[in-house]
Amino acid sequence: MNLHVTINNEPKDFICQPTDTLLDLLRREAYSGVKVGCSNGDCGICAVLLNGRTVNSCVVLAAHCQNKKIETIEGIANKDGTLHPLQKAFLDEGGAQCGFCTPAMILSAKELLDENPNPTDADVREAFSGIICRCTGYVKPIAAVLAAAQEMRDAKGGATA
């Protein structure tokens, strides 16, 4: 079947099978920042943004994404190549260890911060609740999101906590 989607703001047309998952499609098209952890919707590390919402791409059919907007970790940095504040904060805070779940965490955090620029620790925990990370104990990824939120608020020059 023919599929039209927007990936990281670029319009794309693919031919895919009705049984292809979004994960299959993205990895086949070399968006290798999307990782495979369980193929069952349990671990959350294949998360991408679909029309701004995190989905586990292993349990979303590619066909379901017709004419929709997909964001992957490859599209998060600024166009000039500078890092998104979340990416920078993950590096500053040591939020990435093996890095296998990091794309999913950064995308989930982006969804959170897009809606709630002033999240609490509990908000971040809720946003990450569908993602399993075995390396970090979640401590530094949460700190990274809170630091990025602060930086983004500061950059806007306005609201504080």
Binding site: K35, V36, D42, L83, D92, F100, S129, C135
Partner: protein, 777 residues
């Protein structure tokens, strides 16, 4: 108090937390893990696992599978070499029985290898597995080590060509015993003897990246294995052994790894990938599914640890006896060393003249156990640190004081170190750094021990939800003394940057970064001037692999020496240029600076060396072995709430203080503690592989095998207590494993403090805790 106040060097590149050297790739999605290359014409292979826990394969008919369009090759015991070996990636010769074959005519656990199909697509390979007709003769199976050791139990390894099994008639894969002093006399001298038995469960590492390997042939038809491994050199050696080809025909490349925690200290897929690649001349990928990861990779070995500790009224220990029986599952890869580590990481911890260790690692028809962060020390600490708590309670002294009175100190050693090493006698291990008392004091203050311990119940004895606090002290090692070797090479580039080529295997811990920091510290540059490339058996020198808490300490030692060798050459060239004596020169801020104030920048030095006079490549190479394994020490404190009506345990607060010597990179060091502690908490409270009466795992998915997520995770406070370890690179010791050993005993002790029940069996599920509470009433 803080013995590291005056370090014999000034921290420059180390002691800081720069961005990880692989960080940009990790946060932008460009990091290439094993599966992140896309080869044309690649085959996909799938493994047929045994449905039986114990069975003989009478016949395999692969005709239908081979006829399925798209199937390229089917491997079974009929068409692969039969070579007894071990899958455990350890130094050679391995301390393991050779009880494994690529394929055997017998299967020993549900999920054991029966056949492998490579096909054009994963779907075809999967479909072909169903067309393989296997005739099994089911054999009686045994799942409990106590049953497996009995006379008349099914013999799991009856194949005559297996080698190195301790006592196959009783299914004992490995045994070790040693006595220091006289245990019987020690027990007689005691005022009290505490005899207790503890049992831990099957658990899985749950690295988010499953085992995955891609094999292909290079331009000259050599096998390249791109694989998620913690042990590239052992993988190369074991694959060569299995295929009976020389190691020169194999190159192992370790890309970025998505976590290992010990599970990837094992050769599970590489042999199949290599053989399929050789026979088909095509690239092939094998990746475990999550289900296979649970049942067919490796797991933590459940253990029964029986302790008998004799103690005087004043808290002096007169005897310590530790009897360990552990599950090795269907194969015995890590059986001996896991076993001895239970004792070697707990028995030397406390002063006692009469000590005995006695251990058996026993085959059953359950999944194979193996290396898992903590490596036996976790099970040992669970037992030892609960008995410490019992003793303190009985004697009416503070558990902290009991530990402080008895734990090993700087300047001391313990005969257990020499008597009980890595599956054999070890090396004496004089302690040259120990910050444990400071760990205890700072963690106790952070959690409020003095106002809480033994006080909650007095305040509110009738509360339904009871609070309690507990603590545990821990030690691990830093590499395996006298066995682990690492090497590194550093060469200088025209712009004053350096290629750091290391055998050391970064499995996601950040070791590439901290090793770069060590080299940068020696060479007087910032860490970003180090271009790291690690773990490629063709391109980098040897390293034992990433296990046994060895990378910072052993590999770091090699990197430091290599950097020093490189520095010496830089200084020699600079001495010619500056017409100064080498003794007056030092490397600083990417320059060589003399005491007289003259200086020359690195690019000028290397430019002269590559293009000017007496040309040569400025580089350094070194290997490192340590004959001591300095323990990191830690004190963990847990505060819990126990719901006495449901048995639910909630961790309210957790503090982990650790002495890892000098933290090369404090944030990465903290990250190691936090990750290990969270894994330990999850293991203590909810993780358990559950099996039915036929040995089938009932919960092989993240949906049914629960591990902590952000909504379960308590806040963890990490305290790094700095000491200076003279034998380590810039005073460093290890940190990766020790943190996982604390939650089991600390939480168990806290549960006791809360409601007076002793949790001797893990995990502390609501069901088990409630049963213990009801039994105590």
């Amino acid at each position: 108090m803080n013995e590291a106040k005056t370090l014999p060097f000034e921290k420059k590149a180390i002691g800081k937390s720069p961005w990880r050297v692989d960080g940009i790739g990790l946060v932008t999605g460009t990091a290439k893990f094993t599966d992140d290359i896309f080869l044309k014409n690649m085959l996909h292979a799938k493994i047929l696992g045994s449905p039986h826990a114990h069975a003989r394969i009478l016949e395999i008919d692969t005709t239908a599978a081979e006829k399925l369009p798209g199937v390229v090759i089917v491997l079974t015991y009929k068409n692969v070499p039969r070579v007894p070996h071990t899958t455990a990636g350890q130094g050679y010769p391995e301390p393991s029985p050779y009880d494994t074959f690529m394929f055997d005519t017998k299967v020993r656990f549900v999920g054991d290898r029966v056949a492998c199909v490579a096909a054009e697509t994963p779907e075809i390979a999967e479909q072909a597995l169903k067309l393989i007709n296997v005739k099994y003769e089911a054999l009686p199976a045994v799942f409990d080590v106590r049953e497996a050791m009995k006379e008349g139990a099914p013999i799991i390894h009856d194949e005559p060509d297996a080698d190195g099994i301790h006592d196959r008639k009783h299914n004992i894969a490995a045994h070790y015993d040693v006595e220091i002093g006289n245990l019987a006399n020690g027990l007689k001298e005691a005022d009290f003897v505490f005899e207790e038995e503890f049992e831990t469960q099957y658990a899985q590492h749950c690295a988010l990246e499953p085992h995955v390997c891609i094999g292909y042939l290079d331009d000259n038809h050599r096998i390249v294995l791109r694989t998620a491994t913690q042990v590239p050199w052992h993988a190369r050696r074991i694959v060569a052994q299995c295929l009976q080809i020389p190691v020169n025909q194999i190159r192992v490349i370790k890309p970025r790894i998505g976590g290992g925690f010990g599970s990837k200290q094992e050769v599970l897929l590489e042999d199949l990938c290599a053989l399929i690649t050789v026979r088909t001349r095509r690239p092939v990928k094998i990746e475990y599914t999550r289900r296979e990861e649970f049942i067919a990779s490796r797991t933590r070995d459940p253990s029964i640890v029986k302790m008998a500790i004799g103690v005087k009224k004043d808290g002096t220990f007169t005897a310590i006896d530790q009897r360990v029986t552990s599950w090795t599952g269907g194969y015995g890869g890590h059986s001996l060393t896991l076993l001895t580590n239970v004792g070697s990481k707990t028995l030397p911890f406390y002063h006692c003249k009469n000590v005995r260790f006695w251990g058996d690692s026993v085959y059953t028809n359950l999944p194979v156990t193996g290396a898992y962060r903590g490596y036996g020390a976790t099970q040992g600490a669970f037992a030892m640190e609960q008995v410490m708590d019992m003793i303190a309670n009985k004697l009416g002294i503070d558990p902290i004081e009991l530990r402080k009175k008895n734990h090993i100190q700087k300047g001391e050693t313990n005969p257990v170190f020499a008597a009980l090493g890595e599956g054999k006698e070890g090396h004496d291990n004089p302690i040259e750094s120990c910050g444990l008392d400071e760990c205890i004091d700072r963690a106790a203050a952070a959690i409020g021990w003095n106002t809480k311990h033994r006080r909650y119940q007095k305040r509110d004895p009738n509360a339904k939800i009871k609070r309690g606090i507990g603590m545990a002290c821990l030690m691990q090692g830093s590499g395996i003394a006298g066995i682990d070797m690492a090497s590194a090479r550093i060469k200088m580039n025209e712009d004053g940057s350096f290629n750091l080529l290391m055998g050391a295997t970064d499995l996601g811990t950040g070791s590439d970064t901290i090793l770069a920091q060590i080299a940068a510290q020696v060479l007087g540059v910032t860490t970003d001037k180090m271009l790291t490339y690690s773990s490629d058996t063709d391109m980098t020198p040897f390293d034992k692999g990433a296990y046994a808490s060895s990378t910072t300490y052993v590999s770091g030692g090699a990197v430091k020496k290599a950097a020093e060798a490189c520095r010496d050459k830089i200084l020699k060239v600079a001495a010619e240029m500056l017409k100064e004596d080498v003794a007056n020169l030092r490397c600083e801020n990417a320059k060589v600076v003399s005491k007289s104030g003259k200086e020359v920048p690195f690019p000028n030095i290397i430019s002269r060396s590559l293009y000017g006079q007496n040309q040569f490549q400025i580089e350094g190479e070194a290997s490192h072995v340590s004959y001591v394994s300095p323990p990191p020490f830690a004190a963990h404190f847990a505060e819990v709430e126990v719901d006495t009506e449901t048995g639910q345990v909630r961790v309210v607060d957790y503090v982990a203080a650790v002495d890892c010597g000098v933290a090369i990179n404090p944030k990465l060091a903290e990250g190691q503690v936090e990750g290990a502690v969270m894994n330990g908490l999850s293991y203590a409270l909810c993780e358990e592989m559950v099996f039915d009466e036929l040995g089938r795992m009932l919960n092989p998915s993240f949906f049914d095998y629960r591990l902590f997520t952000t909504v379960d995770a308590p806040k963890i406070k990490t305290i790094l207590v700095e000491t200076y370890e003279p034998s380590g690179p810039f005073g460093a010791k290890s940190i990766a494993e020790i943190g996982i050993n604390g939650p089991l005993p600390a939480i168990a002790n806290a549960i006791y403090d809360a409601c007076g029940v002793r949790m001797k069996k893990a995990p502390f599920t609501p069901e088990r805790v409630l049963a213990a509470i009801l039994a105590g009433k």
